[in-house]
């Protein structure tokens, strides 16, 4: 379904053709390298004759910064790429040409989803060596970067499936993209706001505690991301910027980490939305589960069919 999907083959071929994609990747990586360089420069770590002691915290912080930046890029770009996946086909009047074939609708949806997020995933994967530069200073392991990459992928699929889902509902690409962003904002900040409003209304002491975090933020990608970052740092952290520091110190001692819950939520949402989107684009649902094999059997070259 995925490996030999002509939709993926076509999109990858056309998107990687020309100079734009290599230029985009080069520019993105150059930007990340520049950020790291400036970060180290600003921290006085690159002065050749400096007597300043080496501070590993600088490398770790630069890793946090890059990881957060990439996560932000992912959340920002994926809705724009996926929001027009099906709408775009409709606007180009090519969707009917796909739907009138016996090509499975689920392959159209998964193909579009994979292709739409393939670009951003390519950027993230290409940037792994840049992230890996912190290995020089210690504090981060290969497994940490792999875990982060996996979390990126799972999140990208969830956000992407949201975009695809809305693009099967709305006729215009712009509407679909805007609604996807709004849904994402609700997940990112709406859940936080609801949690704090709920906490202040109920006047709960030591708020938020771990159970509150799980109850309100299980669907929040930032919650999962923060927990991965904190795992590297023994509970110290960037999560305090969201005011969830108390709960997060409790989290350091729990086995089931928020990113696990969040990733499970993302996977579930992705599966459900892909299935709903598939059903939505199918014009005639069908009641038979018979798999069609006739395409290959019927194949006869045209010259042999010409009568006259």
């Amino acid at each position: 379904m995925i490996i030999r999907n002509p939709v993926i083959e076509k999109e990858l071929k056309t998107k990687m053709r020309g100079w734009k994609s290599p230029a985009l990747i080069t520019g993105y990586l150059a930007f990340l390298v520049l950020v790291i360089y400036l970060y180290f420069l600003a921290s006085g770590q690159l002065e050749k004759y400096s007597m300043q002691y080496f501070n590993p915290r600088v490398a770790l912080n630069s890793y946090y910064f890059l990881a957060s930046f990439q996560f932000g890029v992912l959340l920002l770009i994926v809705p724009a790429l996926t929001g027009g996946a099906i709408c775009g086909e409709r606007e180009r009047q090519t969707l009917d040409l796909l739907l009138c074939t016996n090509f499975p609708a689920i392959s159209i949806i998964t193909g579009k989803l994979i292709v739409s997020i393939a670009h951003i995933l390519l950027l993230l994967i290409a940037s792994l060596p840049v992230l890996g530069s912190v290995f020089l200073f210690g504090g981060i392991g290969v497994s940490d970067i792999l875990l982060l990459s996996l979390f990126y992928i799972v999140t990208a699929f969830m956000v992407g499936s949201l975009g695809i889902f809305y693009s099967t509902i709305f006729k215009k690409t712009i509407t679909s993209i805007i609604v996807t962003y709004i849904t994402l904002l609700v997940l990112l900040f709406g859940t936080l706001i609801i949690m704090f409003v709920w906490g202040s209304v109920n006047r709960i002491q030591n708020f938020p505690r771990i159970e509150h975090l799980y109850a309100f933020l299980f669907s929040n990608p930032i919650f999962g991301f923060v927990s991965i970052m904190e795992g590297l740092n023994g509970g110290y952290g960037i999560s305090t910027i969201f005011g969830i520091g108390y709960g997060s110190t409790q989290l350091a001692n729990t086995w089931v980490k928020p990113w696990m819950i969040n990733a499970a939520f993302d996977i579930l949402v992705t599966i459900v939305l892909v299935l709903i989107s598939t059903r939505r684009i199918k014009p005639v649902k069908g009641i038979s589960k018979l798999k069609n094999k006739e395409g290959k059997k019927q194949f006869v070259f045209y010259s042999s069919r010409t009568k006259g």
């Binding site: 076509k10 090519t94 009917d96 040409l97 016996n102 014009p283 069908g286 006739e294 395409g295 045209y302």
Partner: protein
Amino acid sequence: MLVIENLVKQYGKFKAVDNLSMEIKEEQIYGFVGANGAGKTTTMKIIAGLLKATSGKVALGGVDIEANPGRVKSRIGYMPDFFGVYDDLKVSEYMDFYAGVYGIAKSKRKELSDQLIELVNLQDKTDVYVDTLSRGMKQRLCLARSLIHDPELLILDEPASGLDPGSRVEMKEILKELRKMGKTVLISSHILSELSEMCTSIGIIDRGKMVASGPVADIIKKASYNRVIRIKVTGSPEMAVKFLKEQPSVGSISEASDYIDADFNGNEQELASILRGMIYANISVISFMELEKNLESAFMSIIRKNGGNSEKIGNGENCESLGNYENNENYEKQIKGGADYDYKKSGN
């Protein structure tokens, strides 16, 4: 081969297809004729599995489209009236993509797409980007695409729409070639003269209902028992219409922008007396002629009869049923095979 029984497609209270039944036998070239909004495209989309019918049955070779859409789709090639192409693909890549979509083995794709590209006479364009092709070439490419999986039934919705005369001739030649291949074709077109040349049977659809169906010669014969007189007058046609309505041998009357068509069922003397009467009545007749019996006149006659209300037509009122085409200049262009017909304007 294709059997449609009591097909209904309803949008709210509006019935786009109303209890339509038809049958297309193997190797037939079946022309689907009707005005804009008559229900041709809707019916074709239902057959192609792109729309769900409200009720009724569509079966191809005994297989129900509702029950087994996948099985039926693999046997149908569909070319819509409006379609897009992937601009960033070359002609050969475009064909390869759809061959992949239909699950054709990679080893066979090139040979097959080369044959089809040759069939539609695009062999010197294989490495050209699709967006650089002319409208006619894109139409031909789309036709080649619809043949890529060797379908038994080909559904062509207005394949010659918007084409210049040269491209229309090319398209006609390709369709003749398909006929030789033994393909069953369901084709809709506004260019009735072309349909009558290439179709073995036709079906005339009006407001979602099949009003006539059968071999072209039979349709013309059956529909043309009334002669149609086309009259052109200078100035306002109101007097002429009023005069014609008073004649017992004149049936329904339809009024276009520059002529009046009247169904006539009298003899030669009565015909001569109508002309004489019009001149005596000071109606400035500049042309008075009987239309040749062909598919066009048969179609007009059938539609007029089906619409039924000659009062409304005669008064020039835009009666709901016939207003779509009877008083529509675009429609006249379609019937006459005008390549410059503006579909967007008509809202089809």
